[in-house]
Amino acid sequence: MNPFKNKQSKMIALAVALTGLLSACDSGPSQEQLLATSLTLKPQDASLNEIYQRTCKNCHTLIDTGAPLTGDQHAWAERLEKGKETLVNNVIDGFGGMPPFGLCMECGTDEFEALVDFMAQQTPVQK
């Protein structure tokens, strides 16, 4: 029997296939994949990259530090719901295991914001 013999059954099959695809998307990349991605990313701006390499990268490219991985857009989206200003304030004050200023004692709010944008990968991933 042809399961797609009419339009209605074709629509049902398509819906099932889409649901399957969406379910696959829901599971998302594994921690290992996210970790591997985090290690490939670096800010394009040279001075921001210099700061990132000596500060944020220490924790945001390691699993189990409590810090969201660089480029883990899902993890960052949850945090960004609090508002970017809150995230920048968390950097300034320190948060959880993160030291005050995220160890960049000379940084200003613009740099912290740019680093959050980069780690959250709000713009397309630049490798």
Binding site: T55, I92, G94, M105, C107
Partner: protein
């Protein structure tokens, strides 16, 4: 079969069913910040510096020190609980002066930039075939910050980190560079190994290291009376030994580490950050009845099995600390530990039901460093903690006299109220240190209000 967490949940549910409303209200005094302040990790210290700098090289640092108006305070990663950093003038970070500079395979010595985080030392040293003899249980600190405050790990035969320093470089208040060791500028070397950031900015450090090694860490839960009874033997028979006590539980755990050739491995581990949150929750539910609390918490802790981790030394000392706290730690003559511990436990469990963070006890070998709290004394340290968002002062104020009564010397980086007059009898070279300080910094450029209270 019940898992650990489901058992804990069951116990909590049962206890909560009998609980009245918690008998105290949690402090909620975290101030909101409108400007960019500098704060330490726990939030207990804060300032509004005019200038925050991170020089890229020694020349930039020299120019900064020479030209900056007002006070200058070096800052590491903000893990000191004492007001060593706060200034409204200039704070200077060495985060751009970080990494391994040089190493010698024959002597197992290595020179590091002083701005290197302890957690970033292990891997490059291992690549050079070396490892630090010992490390603390937090590795976020910079090397300069750790040495400046006599930061230590545990081990009755192992000194604090400064004890392994064989040479260092300082940039002084005049912008001069001084390289010192036990033969060259030996007085400055003796003063600078533990220096509170009061002599200048330490830029480079030469460390005596060990050939790289692997450690087997074993964590086991016991009734606290049993731990106290065996503590001295455990300290003598293990390379690294420490223990923790969970207040209002009657239970603690011991951590022992020894060098091994076993392959790296790890058993099921309890997450210490989750553990702290669980203890806080139990405190919230059960502080109305210490007996119910001890029964509940103690019953849970007795179900925990031994944890074993085999790893490279530098990966096995520190744990992630994502739950912030404030801490007081005093270094006591080793023979006074049990008496002091019992008094503190009795006091806290009588008067401070809000406490849930563990007490921590560690061992440190004596040394010959002028401002080291371990100066010519085999030492046992007792540390008490309070959750960062709650007021630490009442409990610390009550505990501190006990630690002082047993001849304790405070950790330079942890909360204490000792004045210069109280500290001097503990440090026979206190005045000599201050003379060196005055020679290097006659204008007091590196003195903030706290350091002025000690040295002026």
């Amino acid at each position: 079969m019940l898992t650990r967490r489901s058992l804990l949940s069951s116990l909590m549910t049962a206890a909560a069913a009998t609980a009245a409303t918690p008998s105290f209200v949690l402090a909620n005094d975290k101030a909101t910040q409108k400007r960019i302040p500098w704060k330490n990790w726990s939030g207990s210290q804060m300032c509004y510096p005019q200038s925050r700098k991170a020089p890229a090289n020694i020349e930039e640092l020299q120019a900064l020190i020479t030209n900056a108006p007002g006070q200058i305070r070096p800052v590491g990663s903000g893990h000191s609980f004492m007001p060593l950093v706060p200034t409204d003038d200039t704070i200077v970070s060495l985060s751009r002066l970080s990494g391994l500079l040089d190493h010698d395979a024959q002597s197992n010595q290595a020179t590091l930039w002083a701005g290197t985080r302890l957690g970033d030392i292990g891997e490059p040293l291992a690549n050079a075939g070396q490892a630090l003899f010992n490390m603390p249980d937090i590795d976020e600190q910079t090397l300069a910050g750790a040495l400046g405050t006599a930061t230590h790990g545990t081990g009755a035969t192992l000194g604090c980190m400064s004890d392994q320093v064989t040479g260092l470089q300082l940039v002084t208040a005049t912008g001069d560079i001084i390289d010192c060791d036990k033969n060259k500028h030996s007085d400055i070397f003796n003063a600078a190994r533990v220096n509170l950031g009061a002599l200048g900015v330490v830029t480079q450090v030469k460390m005596q290291n060990a050939p790289k090694y692997r450690l087997k860490r074993e964590t086991t839960w016991f009734p606290i009376e049993e731990i106290l009874e065996n503590a001295e033997t455990l300290a003598d028979n293990n390379r690294n030994f420490e223990f923790y006590y969970i207040p209002f539980s009657g239970m603690g755990f011991i951590d022992v580490q020894n060098i091994t050739d076993e392959a790296p491995s790890v058993t099921d581990k309890i997450d210490q950050n989750d553990g702290a949150e669980d203890l806080k929750m139990l405190r919230d539910l059960l502080s109305w009845s210490p007996k119910v609390r001890e029964l509940t918490v103690g019953s849970y802790l007795k179900t925990l099995s031994k944890e074993v981790t085999v790893a490279n030394s530098w990966q096995n000392y520190a744990s992630e600390r994502n739950v912030r706290f404030n801490e007081m730690e005093y270094h006591l003559p080793r023979e006074n530990m049990v008496k002091a511990f019992k008094e503190i436990r009795a006091l806290v469990e009588k008067d401070f039901p809000e406490v849930f963070f563990p007490f921590e006890v560690r061992y440190i070998k004596s040394d010959d460093i002028w401002m080291s709290p371990f100066y010519q004394r085999e030492t046992c340290s007792i540390a008490v903690h309070r959750y960062f968002a709650e007021d630490y002062k009442p409990m610390f104020k009550a505990v501190e006299p006990i630690l002082q009564k047993y001849n304790g010397r405070p950790h330079w980086g942890k909360l204490n109220t000792m004045s210069a007059a109280q500290l001097k009898p503990h440090y026979k070279n206190f005045d000599q240190f201050n003379e060196i300080r005055k020679q290097l910094d006659p204008q007091g450029k590196f003195l903030n209000p706290y350091l002025k209270s000690l040295f002026v």
